[in-house]
Amino acid sequence: MKPILEIIDISKTFRIQHEQKPYLSIRDSISNVFKPLKKSSEDFFALKDVTFDVLPGESVGIIGKNGAGKSTLLKILSKITPPTSGKIISRGRIASLLEVGTGFHPELSGRENIFLNGSILGMKRVEIQKNFDAIVDFSGVEKFLDTPLKHYSSGMQLRLAFAVAAFLENEILIIDEVLAVGDAEFQKKCMGKMEDVSKNQGRTILFVSHQMGMVNMLCNNAILLEKGKISFSGKSFEVINHYNDINFKENAGYELTKEPTGKDIYITRAYLTDSKGKASSNYAFNEEFKLNLSFKVKNPLKNVVLGIIVKDNFGRRIFTSQTDLNNLNISEKGEKEYKFTVRFPHTLLTPNHYSIFCALHIPNIRVIDEINDLCSLNIIDTGSIFSMYEGVDFGCVFANCEWNLLEE
């Protein structure tokens, strides 16, 4: 099968200028008015010799840190800016969604903006007319179709914008982090639509995102860009694991540095220890370990729950564990510090990187204190049954189910 996109040796340089000014004096600034500033310039490679192929129907995630060249690559693919060298052969119509709602005009009505935006995205008038009802339906703003866009809430604008984009019929879709906005329900709807586009309609997608979970869900393959070069490519989860490995910062624990103001109860300390009480972040999969948690009660409250959530390296929540603090009768003991240990059973988590989130809250009422990345947890494979499946995504949790053979 011929690739639908061939990216061959693409480079892009920008000239950056430096002004030579070791120090500044008034005399200098006056005389500089009359003579041109001395500037030295330097070529900066935003992309350097990037080469890869995309097959029809494939969805490719592009990941990398800020400034790795992801957006520049998308801009070149969208023909917004030309490459400095190299070429791209495309065998399909490319539609780029570097932003949702490009060209939306606040003074025009929703109806008018659907046509304007659709047309800027490259849809034909008849195509828009054909899909008009479906677009309106998907956006859920039919009541406000003839209201100027400036009176829409930002969420409504976003829904309308995405609805138009969802009906693009191009063979290749280039999508830049457009889903990082909007509420959870809307994000879910978008992801559903995107999965439908890539998996059921067999269209080709290039997707840039910082949300590894989304890349993993949507894309079969991924490439990792680093300083303008492809540093790793392959199956999405392999690339994401690689990316997480190189960016994995060991976070040994949490220690409160400054007394917070206005918090009734707050977490003061957290770290992981093995069964002998030695602090570490790395554990074998068949090893037990404990989370040591301390918190301080400043103003006693009732019905407080202390909970933790373990998250995988895609940021997905794996499980929650909590304890009810009512048994401690903290409301009677006044200002006091408490210590907990949470014992994690062995052979629960599969080898990977995890992080722990912790929160003190009154269920369904309010969050008293929360810490997002309390400490990192690294489960090392020391010969589990899964070690032979390296490179395969086998999930996050070991489940020791009972297998019984029934009578033949």
Partner: protein, 272 residues
């Protein structure tokens, strides 16, 4: 369908591509026209009222007070015929000149032939021209001007054509320059004012006593446009040499504007 994206090498006009995106002309023009008169009480009437009031002001000060001659036409008709074309030119180059900067958010995010934006700006001023023409026809009837149908059908299309290519040429040139050197944002209004004095809108060329002044005015492409437009109503002989100079400068402006725009457009997204 297979195509390549590669570094910009040779210049082409890309007419086929423009044709492919023809619907965008409509949408951009339609957007600008709609937005221009949004949230105004009088709406499209402004397209008519603006030149009408300008005509009144000029008629009072230049026609009545200063007694500027007007080549056998009533002064209001004379000045309005000039204003009709002048407004296409002045609002066209102002809008086109600023169009790339004001649409920067779009050109940085999506590709389409960049020429569509300044061309649409010129189309908007043509729309205003059509609206204002209604007043002009009314004035021709009111003042009972003798018209020569044959001459009108010959001269008016030529004069509109000259207006369009010079507006388009200067507009695209300014658009391309403005995106790189934002100084043009301040130069454009100034330039429009100077050019108004260099165009025989409020006065006929015949009152220029120095010969070199006539040639200076003829360098302005709008000289031929305005003169040819009035030729349908005035019996005076045309000054062919001045007209030719002006026509050449219109064509030159068109070619230079288009060339410079095409040459630099690939980098607009980097500069915007």
């Amino acid at each position: 369908m297979e195509y390549e994206i590669r570094p910009k090498e040779k210049l082409n006009l890309g007419l086929a591509e423009l044709w492919e995106y023809r619907e965008l002309f409509y949408f951009f023009t339609w957007r600008d026209i709609k937005v221009k008169y949004k949230q105004t009480v009088l709406g499209f009437a402004w397209a008519v009222l603006q030149p009408f009031f300008m005509m009144l002001v000029f008629s009072v000060f230049f026609g009545q007070a200063l007694n500027v001659p007007s080549e056998n036409l009533p002064y209001p008709v004379f000045v309005f015929s000039g204003l009709l074309l002048w407004n296409i030119f002045s609002s066209g180059i102002t809008a086109a000149g600023n169009s790339m900067v004001s649409n920067a958010n779009i050109i940085k995010k999506i590709y389409f032939p960049r020429l569509i934006i300044p061309i649409s700006s010129v189309l908007v001023s043509l729309f205003d021209f059509l609206m204002a023409s209604i007043i002009f026809i009314g004035m021709l009837l009111y003042f009972q001007i003798n018209i020569h149908p044959l001459k009108i059908f010959f001269y008016i299309p030529i004069s509109l054509f000259v207006t369009c290519i010079s507006t388009f040429g200067l507009g695209t040139l300014l658009a391309a320059l403005n995106i790189k050197y934002r100084d043009f944002r301040y130069i454009i209004p100034f330039m429009v004012q100077i050019l108004l004095f260099m165009t025989p809108v409020i006065y006929p060329v015949s009152i220029l006593t120095h010969e070199w002044l006539k040639y200076l005015v003829a360098l302005n492409p709008m000289y031929s446009a305005v003169t040819l437009f009035r030729a349908g109503f005035i019996e005076n002989p045309l000054q062919i040499n001045l007209l030719l100079i002006s026509l050449c400068s219109a064509i030159l402006l068109f070619v230079v504007g288009l060339y410079y725009f095409r040459k630099t457009e690939a980098y607009f997204a980097d500069l915007a």
